[in-house]
Subunit: 341 residues, 2 copies
Amino acid sequence: MKFETVTIKDIAKALGLSTSTVSRALRGSYEISSETKKLLLEYAEKINYRPNPIALSLKERRSRSIGVIVCEIANNFFSQAINGIESIAYNRGYHVIISQSHESFEREMVTVQHLASRSVDGLLVSIASETTDLSHFIELHEKGLPIVFFDRITNEIETHKVVVNNYKGAYDATTHLINNGFKKIAHITGSPSLSITMERLRGYKEALEANNIPHDEKLVQYCHHNGMIYDEVEEALMKVMKGKNKPDALLTPGDRLTTSCMTALKKMGKKIPEDIALIGFTNTNLADLFNPSLSAIRQPAFEMGQVATELLFQIIESKRPVTDFETRVLETELFIRETTK
Amino acid sequence: MKFETVTIKDIAKALGLSTSTVSRALRGSYEISSETKKLLLEYAEKINYRPNPIALSLKERRSRSIGVIVCEIANNFFSQAINGIESIAYNRGYHVIISQSHESFEREMVTVQHLASRSVDGLLVSIASETTDLSHFIELHEKGLPIVFFDRITNEIETHKVVVNNYKGAYDATTHLINNGFKKIAHITGSPSLSITMERLRGYKEALEANNIPHDEKLVQYCHHNGMIYDEVEEALMKVMKGKNKPDALLTPGDRLTTSCMTALKKMGKKIPEDIALIGFTNTNLADLFNPSLSAIRQPAFEMGQVATELLFQIIESKRPVTDFETRVLETELFIRETTK
DNA sequence: TTGTATGCGTTATCAG
DNA sequence: CTGATAACGCATACAA
């Protein structure tokens, strides 16, 4: 016996009562004589009794904890989102279990299974970029596990979703660059398998179109590791910079991608924004220091975590199966720093 | 019944065997007829049987998971450390449960209790800056829960510890500044309640002393929130900059503190390193972009996570109580960028 | 109002 | 080689 923890049995024995009486007193159910109740509660307090959550989980098939799975916590967008998640969950007495997929499909699958078998009451998921097969989620979702997708979502599963308006963010950013005299705007972006990547691409393209700027495919480069692997970003940037149609501005989505691009530019001896302008989607507070560009697109990460968690509790707490799911769209903010070329 | 998960009972019923037989076959214990064993394993595979970890935890009083508690994951030092932790833990088939204290004593206490009651097999802890009373750790440690402290440690508990050589890091950084002609070096640092803060202070002071530079108390400012609250850092910096003895260089430990200082300096219109030099302890890859200073002190965060986890497993896996604890000290690296004033 | 018995999923002990 | 039973800590239907 590793830990001699106090159990309901110990209390029962010590006070000459049955375990059921103790149990009832402790959780205030049934009316039991307020006398023994008081006695019990005092004793429990005295010997510092704590119910065993594992036993509870086994019995009740729930754990009062929710699982979160993101690609990386070393990404300010996600760590801020997690803080938003915690802010809601802890208020409700829930614990938050954080896991990373590191963009790996395999890892995501294993982790999700593990969380589910640990009886998490719900799951907050931002899909790994490697993932195309969603059956591990579908299976659990069909079994009734509440899932809310945030940021990186899928259309293959009917549930609540929370996203940033990536389309509008990219559209606004691109338009802003155009309005300030930039015409050759490159787009170094993330994995094309991600919903957010395609939304951003759409915004970028439509902004060009609206301004009668022809779209040059070669100015768009995908980084399958979303900026986590620096060399990939550098190579993508190099391709664009060494092309015929040399860009005068850069649109980069995501925290890591943006900062990797900045590092690469610096390494190439390019000054921002003198040599090339840059607008990034980033929540890194460091961004203020970079003077990276005209501006930056700020994503409401904390709020996204909060909203996703509230929606998750909506499912968890509803007695009957939820059928009317919604997709909440949060707006980005364009932080304007300089406005001239 | 929320989830219809397959249990050992289902298998037993389906195959007309007893649960004990099934259990034995599944875990390969005892010699049971290789015929029924094969049958069983195949069937289990077919219906995708997964043992219920909660039931196992209840029975075995262990969970094959370890808990990590840090102040913030939105801090590159810690998120990198966590990646190091995971890299070791997952190889051993252990899961990692990440929690944040947000520097709050209360939160740390609650979380630690929760992890313990969830039967984590061990704890990796970096102490919250608010914490002075360690009884929540002491109690668990005495009950036999393996604990390893990393980065922010305590002398009140005898166990394995892993730290960065903060003394030498600060000494080297300060010496480097002095060697490059800086003499009025301010030290904006973290909470004085932290072991790391005091070690760094010692290194800073001794480097000054070794170079016959008098130590001006007013050049040292403590930020009790370790850079998480920007205004506090700005105020500290302001105090130093507006003092009589205006510094020509800055030594800032920690990821958040360093970057907050840089933001504040920028806001004050100060250029780094032209107006003021800066050496920070930082693992932010962004640091490369800042050109923050002559150099930077890099902490081996990933490695620290790995070492701490290995030490933890050393305790977890030893059958008899461990008595010879060690404190592992990892060296920082001084990344030199510019060498002239 | 309180006690007894049962079960959550699994393994260990003991009998057969 | 296999099966019945108890136990891990708790909650609850049922009985008293």
